[in-house]
Amino acid sequence: MLCLEQILIEIELFRRGARLHRGIGSDASHWLDGTIEKAGPGGSFLKERSTRDALRAGEWYLTDLGFHDTHERWQAAGRPTLLHEARDRVTQILKDHTPLPLSREAERELDRLEARARALSASGK
């Protein structure tokens, strides 16, 4: 059974899987012992330059599907579920999406092929 919402949920699943597949980097940019040293016991890493750099470099997969904010905000947003979100997204896509057009030559060729197929079908051959 085809389910349009399920396509979007599975894309999310694949994206998270792809992040797993990339694994854990250990090159110099991931080796933040100096940052740990600087923060020290009881410190914070939020304002460190390396935190900003990591965010921009794609160390984190930032999803826009699923609700990840606090319980209170989830309540205030009407308790959205993954299925509702996917449904809204599907509705939006079907409303707004315009497929990339084929070239005029390709369109003409497809029309010719369709006409031939219909003629063949009508002749019963």
Binding site: M1, I9, E12, L13, R16, G17, R19, L20, G23, I24, G25, S26, S29, H30, W31, L32, D33, T35, I36, E37, A39, G40, P41, G42, G43, S44, F45, L46, E48, S50, T51, R52, D53, A54, L55, E59, W60, Y61, L62, G66, F67, H68, D69, T70, H71, W74, R79, T81, L82, L83
Partner: protein, 479 residues
């Protein structure tokens, strides 16, 4: 052949260890409390009394790793339910101390109570992969100063599997000792049969809480195992690199091991973690992200590198309620931990970043774990599974349904048989009223709660626990 995930190379593991030694020796760790500084100073660590910072030489770390036992049996009050670690299969641990519970009857989210602990423990008792209980929610109906004691002793009262919980203050220790002695008969029995253990979380980055640490050092007299569970959050209380956040967690674990082993050499330690990452769009903690799962797997590899009993937090989610998002996130976080070879995954039964206990979710997570366990088992290529003669006999266009090997395989466990998930054809599923995994779980919860209690404590021991808790309620005061 077992299906194993390897997230760190041998070189990366050795690098993490070496760098942890350097951080402990050069940066140091802050220990609050009365006991740790004296213990560490007496053994040659460099202690600053002004800021409580301790720089720990590598020799002390190596000695702690040497004296920490390489195996431990998490025994149950019912001995047949004991769980030895290391283990060839991954057991499940309850998620713990959620602030809230989803009321099974009304569906309302509210603060947890003693009755929620009782109900959850009865469900936990019935789950076949569940091996270690943890008080799953706060007993908000008990007085604050004695609350952890209510949670600890109720957990052991209503579940005969191994139980792990926490204390927050030194003055709670005598009541716990008395309670454990009441259950097991004597302090010697408590020491010998380890039916309970302690969960210990350093405060990231690189800090140890004084009251909890002092209490746990005091409980060394009973040789209670300690599961060390660092929780740095990459991007806030930890560095913004999965590798370096794992380094920080490992450093915190080693620092805890040093003080526990110096105080009581040979006391059982379990290497664990509950690391996370920050959600950069909201600032929240993320338990169910791919990055959280990757770090957890890295730390499982690190625990195995030290050859210590190793557990991990998994089966976690950020979803605010049970449902598709919860299952998606829990599957990712559990599967990787299974494949990394964790002895035990701790985290079943809760959603909302481990802040909401849901009884149905406990049953769902057990089912999910069965599937992950099957993946970890991999593909058996032994002679018994080489069915070449059958293929030859059936030949082109035939089928295998009536083969003897098919019947044997169906009974062997090679193919999982779903307990909760529906596998009927569409028409039959509609006819059955469109059952979902959660509706099946709800029916199972109802059935367990309506059934008799399993392994109940004798009345006289239960009465002693009631007395101990009554005294604790009266005698312990707010600080």
């Amino acid at each position: 052949m077992e299906f194993v995930a390897k997230v760190l190379s041998d070189e990366m593991l050795a690098g993490l260890h070496a760098e942890s030694l350097r951080l402990l020796a050069e940066v140091g760790v802050r220990f609050h409390g009365e006991k740790a500084l004296g213990i560490l100073e007496a053994h040659g660590a460099h202690v600053s009394r002004e800021d409580h910072r301790v720089r720990i030489p590598a020799e002390l770390v190596e000695e702690a790793l040497r004296t920490a036992p390489k195996s431990v049996v998490f025994e149950g009050r019912n001995p047949s339910l004991s769980f030895p670690m290391p283990s060839s299969w991954t057991g499940l641990g309850m998620d713990g101390t959620a602030a809230f519970a989803l009321d099974f009857q009304t569906g309302v989210r509210r603060y947890g109570t003693k009755k929620d602990i009782e109900d959850a423990m009865r469900i936990f008792q019935a789950l076949d992969l569940a091996v270690m209980a943890w008080a799953p929610t706060c007993a908000s109906d008990a007085p604050g100063p004695s609350r952890p004691l209510h949670e600890f002793l109720d957990m052991l009262r209503y579940c005969s599997k191994h139980g792990e919980h926490e204390l927050h203050r030194v003055d709670q220790v005598p009541y716990l000792v008395e309670g454990l002695t009441a259950i097991q008969g004597s302090e010697d029995a408590v020491r010998k049969n380890k039916i309970s253990s302690l969960i210990y979380c350093p405060v990231a980055p690189l800090v140890h809480d004084g009251q909890m640490l002092d209490a746990y050092l005091e409980l060394g007299q009973l040789d209670l195992p300690v599961m060390i569970m660092p929780m740095p959050v990459a991007g806030t209380t930890g560095p913004a690199s999965l590798y370096s956040n794992a380094l920080l967690a490992n450093t915190e674990t080693l620092s805890a091991m040093v003080v526990f082993q110096l105080a009581h050499p040979g006391r059982p330690m379990v290497y664990s973690n509950a690391v996370g990452v920050v959600d950069f769009t909201t600032g929240n903690f993320l338990a169910g992200s791919s990055e959280t799962a990757l770090q957890s797997s890295a730390l499982i590899a690190m625990g195995r590198y030290y050859q210590l009993p190793t557990t991990s937090t998994g089966c976690s989610c950020d979803a605010r309620e049970p449902g598709p998002q919860a299952i998606l996130e829990k599957t990712i976080s559990a599967l990787l931990d299974f494949m990394a070879g964790s002895d035990m995954i701790i985290g079943i039964g809760e959603v909302d970043c481990s802040q909401l206990l849901v009884l149905e979710q406990m049953v769902v997570d057990n089912e999910l774990a069965h599937r992950c366990q099957r993946v970890r088992q991999g593909i058996d290529a032994s002679d018994a599974k080489r069915l070449l003669a059958d293929i030859a006999q059936v030949g082109p266009g035939g089928h295998f349904l009536k083969s003897k090997s098919t019947r044997q395989a169906a009974r062997s466990g090679e193919f999982t048989i779903a307990a909760l998930t529906d596998r009927h054809p569409y028409e039959a599923w509609v006819e059955l009223g469109r059952p979902s995994i959660y509706s099946a779980a709800r029916a199972r919860v109802q059935e367990i709660l309506e059934g008799p209690a399993v392994d109940p404590l004798p009345d006289d021991i239960a009465g002693k626990l009631d007395d101990i808790l009554r005294r604790a309620d009266t005698e312990l005061k707010d600080e």
